[in-house]
Symmetry: C2
């Protein structure tokens, strides 16, 4: 396991010098099968896969769950290696941020809408730490899950705007049998909350179904999804949005490629989920 930035940077440069394509899988650890699907995809497409495990303080707000965020480094390393990661980078906080952080990478307006409204500063912290990982990694393919759709779009845009030689690869959401998107934060759910949580996915699917049935008013789709989540007593709705998938601008018509997103709290877990739609036809999940 690599703990030092300079060591990671040198190790990946050495791989490229040997002609090998590097795959990077940035995570905050507490790996679930969603993360492992990223590692497997990278291992299938690249010569060397490096997983990074870092619970990034910059992307947690003052009242958020930085201290409680699940940590399981030994298990993570074993499972990542089993899925095909040849390298793991798990730096201590003081290696990533040896002093006060003066530099912030901001992607506007992508960092300020949707999750950015509910978690001020969160996506600045994401953009900054991912830029830092891309800077130290150098030329690579980088794998991110579609569950954090806004994060994926923001990272794609950041990488393009700053000319990182990094190909950002979005990978499908991995779900439990009842539809709940895998998330490290699912560990926070009490049994009754866990039972209630698939309402997020059910509501999004109902939104998709109404589009497939011909609904052409974006507000009606959003209202339907919101009403289904609100009807679940253990869910506290945060937001629902139907947006253009790359700019995240609210859809003004139900045409072409769109993304339908929702966020809700179940007890102390704040969960997010999303689906891709295409006009009146299903685009994929």
């Amino acid at each position: 396991m690599i703990e030092r930035v300079a060591e990671l940077s040198g190790a990946l440069e050495a791989e490229r010098v040997r002609g090998r394509v590097v795959g990077l899988v940035p995570t905050m650890g507490a790996l679930h099968d969603g993360h492992l699907s990223l590692v497997e995809r990278s291992a299938a497409e690249c010569d060397t896969t490096c997983i990074t495990v870092f619970v990034n303080p910059l992307q947690f707000g003052p009242g958020e769950d930085l201290g409680a965020y699940p940590r399981a480094l030994e298990d993570d390393l074993r499972r990542a290696a089993g899925a095909g990661a040849g390298l793991a980078f798990a730096p201590p906080v003081e290696e990533m941020y040896p002093g006060p952080v003066m530099t912030t990478v901001r992607v506007v307006p992508l960092a300020d809408v949707l999750e950015g409204e509910h978690r001020p500063g969160h996506l600045d912290g994401v953009a900054t730490v991912v830029a830092k990982l891309f800077a130290m990694a150098g030329r690579c393919r980088a794998y991110f899950g579609e569950k954090d759709w806004q994060q994926l779009v923001l990272v794609e845009r950041m990488a393009a705007d700053l000319s990182f030689p990094v190909e950002v690869v979005g990978c499908p959401i991995v779900r439990d049998l009842d539809g709940l998107a895998l998330s490290s934060r699912n560990a926070y759910l009490a049994p009754d909350e866990r039972e209630a949580a698939p309402v997020l996915f059910r509501a999004l699917r109902a939104g998709m179904a109404t589009v497939m049935a011909g609904e052409d008013d974006p507000a009606a789709v959003v209202d339907l999804v919101g009403s289904i989540i609100t009807a679940e007593p253990l869910a506290q709705l945060d937001s629902v949005a139907l947006v253009e998938p790359r700019t995240l601008a609210p859809a003004t018509t139900v045409r072409g490629e769109l993304r339908l997103l929702a966020a809700a709290r179940f007890g102390r877990a704040r969960l997010i989920d999303n689906l891709g739609l295409y006009g009146n036809a299903m685009m994929g999940t």
Copy 2:
């Protein structure tokens, strides 16, 4: 000459694969002997030197001289090659910014003090374009002149904060015989303004001399420098500051390593200059 980002990125990666150390000299063109001293230094220390020539729109404010900024690409390429640059990157604006720029790199408070107060957004534009050049260049040594001291300090900090595998190298100011720091903007000076402009350096040297003579009040040093510049009818003083060299915090005592900076307008040219001091002894220019 390379015009495409991907080509630059690939060319420098290919150099490193061959085991060669890359030197990068970012410029806005209109090369003078100060720029050439950076190229020469890089050529002496690195295996391959790449100069970049790009007048970056992001770092010009609305009322500033983006349109008038001197451009002389053919001359620049010839002189850079003569000084030892093996590669030149001169991208068109639409290659660097193919669409609206959403991503900004901000270094706080370094971007907001001194020049940042007089040129809002300027140092965000600098940090963003240099991060972009570092991202595409990959592992290298990057050469910057000390004339733009705040820029040098900000770039050093940005590279460290974002973990770029880039060693930032600051190089001494190159001056005309009468002390005027070389600058592409000196071309804006009318003959009488050119004659008046060395007052900047004379004032800074007087500030240094009073420190060497025992002055221990930072405000007295700043006032002396300001009064000398103000006494020149063709100079319009913008700012004088005595600061801690890396944080740019105003000096509270005249102790240890310090930087004395001044900015003034001569006609339509806004010129800057600075000197290093050490407590009561000269540190270098």
